[in-house]
Amino acid sequence: MTSHTAMPERRDTATLWRLTILLGAAGLACAILLGGLSAWFLGSVAIAGLSAAALTFNFHVPAAFVRLFALGRTATRYGERLLGHKAALADQTSRRIALFGALAHGPAARSAGWQLADPARLADYLDDVEDLDFATLRTDLPARLLLAGLTVAVVATAVLAPLALAPIALLIGVMGLGLRRLLREGEACWQAVRDRRRQGAEAFGRILPSVVPLQAEGAWPGRCAAALDLFSQAEDALAALRLAQARTDALAFLLGPGAAVSVMAAAWIAGARGAELLVPAFLAFAWLALGEAVQSVSRMAVAALRRKTAQAEIDSWAAPDEVGTGAAAFAPAHMTHLHRHSLRRRAPDGRPLGDPLFIELKAGRPTLLIGPSGVGKTSLLKQIAGWIGDDALTGQAGPLCPAQRAASAMLCPHDAAILADTVRANLFAQGRCDAELWQALEAVELAGRIQEAGGLDGWITQDALSLGEAQRLNLARAWLSDKSLVLLDEPTEHLDPLQGRRILTRLLERLSDRIVVLSSHGVAEWPGSVTLRL
């Protein structure tokens, strides 16, 4: 786990977790003692019932303890579940906040194509996050309780029926071997499940947009079958994991009864008879009760191995540790000028593109990037914004590194997303008054639509808006931005040409004191702008 994700949770929930484990221990103790005590009690009364001792037998104390343990088990189980979930959920909040921060400062969010915008990748990512969120509850907590229970039972056995230790050690050893095998094989299975699922989603994601050509060419049925077959292979791997779990559970089932019989047999061989067997019977039934808890051991193992894989995956998304949030976040004073004599353009994967470029960007004189799709317009915008590459550009007050530019840039991606939130939140304009927000919506010809949808505090989602509406909301964000460097990627995409022209005219007028760079493959030139052909 990286330092981003580890720190905040401990402090907040340590007490809750301590309470949970205490309740869990009490619950397990109640269950074990209930099993032992009721057997001892029945045995005692049965023996007492044979003689006159029946009349003097103090019946009430053990019966009261039976009631105590029975109800105690119920109450502590409920409390343990509730507190455990409370602690896990509290951890979940701090972990997710930290994860979000790490993700935001990681390189993936800035480079080409945000993979987590894809529903399949996002769903896998969320599964991983959940595997982490509940790992403590599913594996650490029950494993510790079980270990404590086993230790107590083994110690008690060593005192009361030492001969039984040999078969019990054998049973535990067999179960341990089974567990080890499950962990080893299970990890491979689980990895296979994940790989096939991802490959299937990718394969399907690739063919579906080409469904028209593929069907026309007669290749659709084959490609479709191949993609879906990967999902079914994933399920075979999952079934293999479940079978391995079933084997481990069967071995674990033997522990309780096996240990119970061993304890009674050991006491018998050691010469205990009749009432002398009552205490061993207590222990034997305690082992039986403990055996119930052992039966979830395979689930703990699987939760543990899922956590391991999830952690590795999630770490790969996060920022490397040295990229801190505060490192170079100070924004330079208002920029009016940026230039570089020879800028080596780079593709998102880092390889150089084309010949070095002379760029000179000035406030009040928009720069229009044009060129066929795939030529690297978006990459150049990101490079100027300081999102990719490590080139310095020279501003009016000296060279500006990427982090400095990023701090004073607003980048409007062409596939800008709508947050599931209010319109106000979606405009990212804190501190602006309502009149200004409406003015911006007016400028992008969206005011009427937003009024209908419930005004500035109406809740909107990606699906609620059409592509064109989303694009216009995106331009309203640029309208409201106070950054001195505004980068617009394909600002008129999804818009009717005339409407696009109207809105862009208003927007560029509004941003006339900023450095504006926009890319387009539709608009070839723009009055008052310089054109940079790539």
Partner: protein, 542 residues
């Protein structure tokens, strides 16, 4: 150039239309139910065996321990029976788990086969409406969730009836009064269930709306992260997320407090029954009171009763833990049905119908260009020409599956440029890959370095639309059969557009090429030109 020859008689065209179009709904749940029937029966049988053998092994243990404590003789047969029954219980448990895993997997896979057949037969015109990402999620996850519902959950439901009865029968063998006692507790428990269940549903409903907004906030912010970064709002969103997650946690705890009561109640009644039984049995053994059914029992009988009583309640508990499996399975079934039962009324485009009639008579080779402003149905017409558009009265003129399609959305196979062009072609064609790629300008593309070995990423992710299009042109040049081209020169720079036009013209000398385009230069090269407009079709002499 204008020979009269029918490429495809219209009479055979309807056979090419998709059989699934207009068919009945997918009905995922019904399908899964019938697929899972035999697996469910087997699973149920194994679960009954497991329950019975567990009761048997508990009985043998009770006999053994009872005999030892009371100083009665223990026969070797009893010791063997204990070992055999415990081993059998472990084995039955293994078999039941195994059976469940296999049955669920097979239902899920069979469901996916049905899904696949449906997708294979669905006309492309409809499938274009699917979102690849959410469709992939649905195909990946929904069958599993449905299988868990129709096998695992249903078995647990049935065992909730059969399991306790089995346990009660075992109790009745020893003392029917004890059996009556646990049976008598059940209606009380169910009454409590009804009360708690109502409260849970009520509170869940009340919180649902606020919940809906909160539940997916983390996922939503992850999805939209680049936009948040672009607007310099990471810190703000992080703070907001923290606040909302806290509220979410608070509400979730409210629901859980009630939801856990379910399991808690079952535990309570199990505990209550044990406490009551222990007291009755104790009194019975001491002989201090005569309680019918609890007096004059052997020790093993009391031990047996005490061991089986929790088993009676265990089935209820197992069922209550499966609650989410039901909700998930039902949602998944609805999701699959939504995904696969999409229908769309074919747009009313009279121009397209007219054009199809015009195109009934097509020459074996030549270049046919269909022009028209956007919205007049050029692309729809192309899809209908090959019979892959939704709607029954299709009138395909080219058999689907026999042509080469050129478009920005063409599928790009392979990992290198060479594989992308040559995949699935004959040896003769493969020998010409390099020559054709050079002619179409793919070998001197500055953005595609490395010649034929240039890596194109899986599915051509690294390619631009123009590059995809040119790869499709190269494939068409090397292939055989009719070529359909959808806007083959749009979004290309002039030089590349020229080479694409030349390529199409070259193919047209020996094969038929039908292109939708408003590129005047391409129209100028056409042998036949149809202009679509909202009003109808004009055949313009080429």
């Amino acid at each position: 150039m204008r020979q009269k020859c029918m490429i495809q008689s219209k009479a055979s065209a309807p056979a090419l239309t998709s059989p699934a179009a207009g068919a009945a709904g997918f009905a995922a749940l019904d399908k899964a139910n019938s697929l899972g029937k035999s697996g469910l029966r087997r699973l149920l049988a194994w679960q009954l065996v497991r329950s019975a053998v567990r009761i048997g092994s508990a009985g043998s243990l009770a006999l053994l321990f009872g005999a030892l404590i009371m100083g009665e003789s223990v026969t070797p047969a009893l010791v063997v029976a204990v070992a055999a029954l415990v081993a059998a219980a472990a084995l039955a448990s293994l078999m039941a788990d195994r059976c469940q895993a296999l049955a669920e997997t097979s239902v899920s896979k069979a469901l996916r086969v049905a899904l696949r057949e449906r997708l294979q037969a669905m006309p492309a015109g409809l499938q274009r409406k699917l979102s690849p990402g959410s469709a992939a999620v649905a195909i990946q996850r929904h069958p599993e969730a449905i299988a868990a519902l129709v096998v695992g959950h249903r078995a647990a439901t049935m065992m909730m009836a059969a399991g306790p009865l089995l346990a009660a029968a075992a109790l009745a063998l020893v003392s029917w009064q004890a059996a009556l006692l646990v049976l008598g507790l059940t209606p009380v428990m169910i009454l409590f269930f009804a009360l708690v269940g109502g409260a849970i549903r009520q509170s869940a409903r009340a919180q649902e709306q606020a919940f809906g907004h909160l539940a997916a906030q983390f996922a939503d912010r992850v999805r939209t992260l680049p936009t948040i970064v672009g607007n310099d709002a990471v810190a703000r969103e992080q703070a907001k997320l923290a606040e909302r997650l806290d509220v979410y946690v608070g509400r979730t705890m409210g629901v859980l407090r009630l939801a856990f009561l379910n399991a808690g109640l079952i535990d309570f009644f199990a505990a209550l029954s044990i406490a009551m039984l222990a007291v009755f049995l104790g009194l019975g053994h001491l002989g201090l009171a005569t309680i019918p059914g609890f007096s004059h029992l052997a020790l093993w009988q009391s031990l047996f009763i005490l061991m089986i009583a929790p088993e009676y309640f265990g089935h209820f508990r197992r069922f209550s833990e499966q609650y989410h499996a039901k909700a998930e399975g039902l949602a998944a079934a609805a999701g699959l049905d939504d995904l696969l039962d999409i229908t769309a009324d074919p747009p009313v485009l009279p121009a397209v119908d007219h054009a199809l009639a015009e195109l009934a008579d097509l020459p074996p080779h030549g270049l046919v260009v269909i022009s028209g402003s956007s919205g007049t149905g050029k692309s729809t017409l192309l899809r209908r020409i090959v019979g892959i558009e939704e709607g029954a009265a299709n009138g395909a003129v080219i058999p689907a599956g026999s042509c080469a399609w050129i478009g920005m959305d063409s599928f790009v196979p392979g990992a290198t440029l060479e594989e992308a062009i040559g995949e699935g072609l004959g040896d003769q064609a493969i020998a010409r890959v390099s020559e054709v790629a050079g002619r179409i300008g793919l070998l001197d593309d500055e953005l595609l370095r490395g010649g034929l070995a240039a890596p194109i990423g899986p599915g051509g992710v690294a390619l631009s639309g123009g590059q995809r299009l040119r790869i499709a042109v190269a494939r068409a040049l090397l292939g055989t059969g009719t070529v359909i081209a959808d806007e083959p020169t749009a979004k290309l720079d002039p030089a590349t557009a020229r080479s694409v036009r030349q390529g199409l013209r070259e193919i047209a000398s020996s094969r038929l090429v039908i292109a939708a385009s408003h590129d005047p230069a391409l129209i100028a090269l056409a042998d036949r030109h149809l202009a679509l407009s909202p009003a109808g079709v004009t055949e313009l002499a080429a």
